[in-house]
């Protein structure tokens, strides 16, 4: 009998041994499995990206394009914030010029500008 034949003879005995695990241990194993399954979350697949547990994105095996996709929402948010802050900066500069009387006299002759000045500021 060679090594392979011998192992093929042993395997059924090992299978029986596993099948003969006591009821107490079997219950504990089942309980452990259920606990593990509580921690398990079905992966969500979107645009080729896969989330692992609680939505944590796994990026380890992703292509450059897939990684870029991950950062798209963040980039969009940053762009919106940047535009908003630029607009606020413009208004702030205008306020500063008004307060320091640095606006050219022509500015007060502009009808639109005067009507804008007349509006109540929020």
């Amino acid at each position: 009998m060679n090594e392979k034949e011998f192992s093929e003879r042993i395997k059924p005995w090992l299978d029986r041994s596993a099948a003969a695990v006591g009821e107490f241990q079997a219950t504990k194993l089942k309980s452990a499995r259920l606990r593990a399954m509580d921690a398990y979350r079905e992966p969500v697949r979107l645009f080729g990206l896969v989330t692992v547990n609680a939505g944590t994105a796994q990026t380890l095996h992703y292509s450059v394009m897939q990684r870029a996709l991950l950062f798209l929402p963040i980039a969009a948010l940053l762009a919106v914030l940047a535009v908003k802050s630029l607009e606020e900066a413009d208004l702030g500069e205008l306020d500063a010029q008004l307060l320091t009387q640095e606006l050219p006299p022509d500015a007060f002759l502009d009808q639109d500008f005067r009507s804008w000045l007349g509006k109540p500021q929020g």
Binding site: E3, F6, A36, A39, Y40
Partner: protein, 182 residues
């Protein structure tokens, strides 16, 4: 995932018991391994789960040994058996008798004999040196190929073959000495 875990939990438990020889510790090891697989590898295809689970399980067993640092004498029992003896030249695999498992008798006496054989096999497996048992279990019980076994064990394919060969011969020798036919 659940079906996979259900299909391997008992074998994993027995593997852990063979290694650590404490049922409570073995249960903890299997539980930790199942938890780790479910938490970390939920996105893996089903085909990859057996190998991943075995890697996690074997690492958990090794961690257990690292933590406890217990040196048991049984790990060298079979190695010691290989030293000296009149019939060392004979290959135990060549002389081991074979019994057809399909004709397993169902009488109480036969069942008793079966349980004794099973216990003897379990004892022999437990008595194997750790690396030999790990290689034998992965290769011949979990049916991983040599390359997969080497990956799980973190050693070369040559080492896997050597461990498996030694384990097989050691088991055959012990079973033959006990007059057990497979």
């Amino acid at each position: 995932m659940s079906d996979f875990l259900a299909s391997v939990e008992r074998r994993a438990f027995k593997q852990a018991v063979f290694s650590v020889q404490e049922e409570e510790a073995a249960l903890d090891i299997v539980q930790d391994s199942m938890m780790r697989l479910a938490e970390k590898y939920s996105d893996k295809p089903a085909a990859e789960l057996p190998l991943l689970f075995q890697r996690i399980l074997q690492n958990a067993i090794r961690d257990h040994f690292r933590r406890s640092k217990v040196r048991s004498t049984w790990t060298t029992l079979l190695s010691n058996l290989g030293m000296g003896g009149d019939d060392d030249d004979a290959d135990p695999l060549e002389t081991l008798e074979i019994e057809d498992l399909a004709n397993v008798p169902a009488s109480p006496a036969a069942q008793l004999e079966q349980s004794q054989v099973m216990a003897a096999i379990e004892d022999a497996v437990k008595a194997l040196p750790e690396r030999q048992r790990e290689a034998f279990m992965l290769r011949y019980w979990e049916e991983l190929d040599v390359s997969e076994t080497a990956k799980v064990m973190g050693c070369s394919e040559g080492s896997v073959k050597t461990h498996c060969s030694r384990a097989t011969h050691a088991l055959a020798k012990v079973l033959k000495a006990k007059g057990i036919t497979l």
